[in-house]
């Protein structure tokens, strides 16, 4: 019976997705899937910003916004870089915008998709998935 890789090794292979969506799958040799994941998560993120969605801070006044921030952190580097350069700032005038809710949904979904990619890469490394 082949030895199962350690959890540390699996984590090391799955976390690069936090830098670039799909990077873990690229490292694991699933190049076409990685490219598809990069495009899909990237487009979801871009549409979210174009639709005036917000990258919520953890200090947001509303607990629902703070919950959305937890999901958006799943994006990893794009979330923190976006926050640093001022993309998707939580602007009180934007909250009344018709597309604000849609934009937030796109951004939250992009974060959750990226979390699923981390778990998928983990499963591939430990042998739960082909």
């Amino acid at each position: 019976m082949p030895a199962r890789p350690s959890s540390w090794k699996a984590a090391a292979y799955s976390l690069p997705t936090l830098l670039v969506p799909g990077l873990s799958h690229w490292v694991l040799g699933r190049r076409r899937r990685a490219a598809a994941f990069f495009c899909i998560v990237g487009l979801t993120f871009a549409f979210g910003l174009l639709l005036d969605g917000a990258l919520f801070p953890f200090s947001a006044p509303n607990w629902l916004y703070r919950l959305a921030a937890v999901a958006q952190v799943g994006l990893g580097a794009p979330y923190f870089i976006g926050r640093l350069v001022g993309l998707g700032n939580l602007n009180p005038t934007e909250v009344a915008n018709v597309m604000f809710g849609y934009g937030n949904t796109f951004l939250v979904t992009a974060g959750l998709m990226n979390m699923l990619l981390i778990m998928d890469a983990f499963d591939i490394v430990v042998g739960r998935k082909e």
């Binding site: 598809a36 994941f37 979801t44 549409f47 639709l51 018709v98 597309m99």
Partner: protein
Amino acid sequence: MIFRDHFLTLVIFSVLVALFFGVLNHRDRHSFVISVCKTLAWMVLGSLAFAYLMFWTGH
């Protein structure tokens, strides 16, 4: 903001999510197409039903 169309936004969102799960779960081309179609059908029909419910209860 690039567009304000609710239906177009819904369709783009549904297509992206359907493609994501299609790529995540597929083993071959056939299972990919089936997965995308099923997710898309559930999302678009479900969203339309929800929108209709909102419209109906809004009166």
